[in-house]
Symmetry: C2
Subunit: 398 residues, 2 copies
Amino acid sequence: MVIPPPNHAADIRQPLPLAEAASRWSTPLLLLDHHRLEENLRRMRRRAENAGVALRPHLKTAKSAHVARLAVSGLASDGIAVATVREAEYFAAHGFRDLFWAVTPTRPKLDRVARLIAAGVTVKISLDSLAVARASSDAARELGVKFPVMIEVECGDARCGIPPTAPELLELGHHVAGDPGLHLVGVYTHAGHSYDHICPEALGVVAREEGQAAVLAAEALRNAGIRVQEVSVGSTPTVSRGEPVPGVTEVRAGVYMFSDCFQAGLGSSGYEDIAISVLATVISNRPDQGHLVVDAGSLAMSKDRSTERLGGKGDVGFGRVCHHTSQEWIPDLRFTTVNQEHGIVKASSPEVLASFPVGSLLRIQPNHACVTAACFDAYHVVDGHRLVVDVWDRVNGW
Amino acid sequence: MVIPPPNHAADIRQPLPLAEAASRWSTPLLLLDHHRLEENLRRMRRRAENAGVALRPHLKTAKSAHVARLAVSGLASDGIAVATVREAEYFAAHGFRDLFWAVTPTRPKLDRVARLIAAGVTVKISLDSLAVARASSDAARELGVKFPVMIEVECGDARCGIPPTAPELLELGHHVAGDPGLHLVGVYTHAGHSYDHICPEALGVVAREEGQAAVLAAEALRNAGIRVQEVSVGSTPTVSRGEPVPGVTEVRAGVYMFSDCFQAGLGSSGYEDIAISVLATVISNRPDQGHLVVDAGSLAMSKDRSTERLGGKGDVGFGRVCHHTSQEWIPDLRFTTVNQEHGIVKASSPEVLASFPVGSLLRIQPNHACVTAACFDAYHVVDGHRLVVDVWDRVNGW
């Protein structure tokens, strides 16, 4: 007896209504609304054009070559950012030749990057310490390649990176510039703390600080005689809401492609822009408990509760429950609990509960697109809000 | 250019020291300690033997045929429980012939179960409503199979299931018993709310209520002339801490195989019994922030914060940071934050921080084994606490 192919592996030769798709593949399914995706991409493209900076789409959220091709279409360059070496390998195999891997490398990962570079792919690596610079330099010498380098600058995120005014920045800059195995391309920063700020004014401040930190670092290096071509910044909230800072050459963002309930709550987008959702089936309807149970639990939605911080209407529990075809929000259903394969959805009244009997389909917008999408290995692509038109793969893991 | 095989796919022909494994495969890696696994299995086996009930290992946590074979070894039966149809298909393909799928089915999943049944595999399905019973009956008739059925009983968990004293129980029992497409095997319940109780006395009460609810339901059905063979209960906390209730024929549990920081905090096991951990590499060490950054973020650890409820020493942040070979806890390192590919670990002093330079390996015990394991598609099996001896696959998805 052989293992059947994955749940999603069936061929799709003609568009299928959602309900038929849910009878062909088992729920939970990760849906991707093609129209909303295109709109989100178009909006960000225009924003970057207006700001006069290059846009480097970050594929850490989508992890899909299909999405990447759409994301770079209409841009001057097809450069993308990735978060794992596995993504770098996957996108290189799908023809992408300009990658920026925006997470600090380890030695075995440098070995893998070197194989990509030897095959003609540009993979810029991220450094924020002499220790990693030396390890990268050793790897470059042993493997016979030269690593293009972006130095990571800290802009208030308090994670990785060197503060733009720290003497370590110049020390690292001189080291990289003078190392035969490394080639300093530029500096970059990421205002991950933009996710902590839910008021537009504060977001504007963080966006400005993000740009200024990167520009300040670039200037400090240039004043020390070190050549810096690229000044790259970005996070979906700052790129969506901030004003461009002169001197920034490139913005990176990823979540904007799909958006999610947290981004909508922050104001980076509207709820009607959210392009991914989880299609789930009601498997139990319990008037005694006042709730229904769907077959999307923590392994489908993740345990992310980022919207809790938004409070009020912004806090959508474990996901925003919508009608499965119209994608219209159902405020009378609240997704209160996830267990491994069970999601518990409270109904505001017995009448509401009765209107979603066992077998009903629901479409749930996630709190956080990156972690929910990572629960799945494929997208069921929906067009016209009703028809499943394709199945696109994703690359998870490291 | 083709996509290289997954990070873990390399053959392993002889045991490798952990550090060498981490230079061969890229971190984060999911490690499984073979010795601890065997001890956890042996302990639960003996507990079930002493209680005089059958043990049906639940493979929802491990999702691995290798682990399943070890889990049933020494038991009277090789029956297992699963949480998804994909698991049922996978374990059937690996030779398992007695499966209980302990989550309510939907129609497309019944189609897949029917194919397994037609191939000679027993797959008991779970019902808690007439609606699903009728859908199952329709499917049985159309597909020419008979579904063995376990009726789900509610025991205080407030999720799925019929309360043992509710009239709906007898109604459903009569329906299933009289339906030519269904065969009533027994009743089952799951005290998922045992996870809410952190004091041993309360856990004992929940365990007793779990057993009593199932036995009460079985008696109610038998008094109505309906044959009930199996009375199945279980959750790792109740099976680990509770006393057997007469009339219960079978216990199910899954997390006990691996355990985790939440189970250890509850007292289901000790921290030294935790069999899985995430091997991570320090990629940044920032004296200015007082923290180090590891390459295990939310996509490797999950966003589970279940240990928060334990408070005090039981609350280990996003995972309990240990030395990579000894597995000894490092109380001076606290895993405070996860971003997608970054984990932030605060050090209690500059000296502690300095002792974990960039490139150091750390081994992190997860809060919740089920969701952390689901981030990976393979186990790197460690023996003698130091040597990687094998790579075992896992089956994720639906």
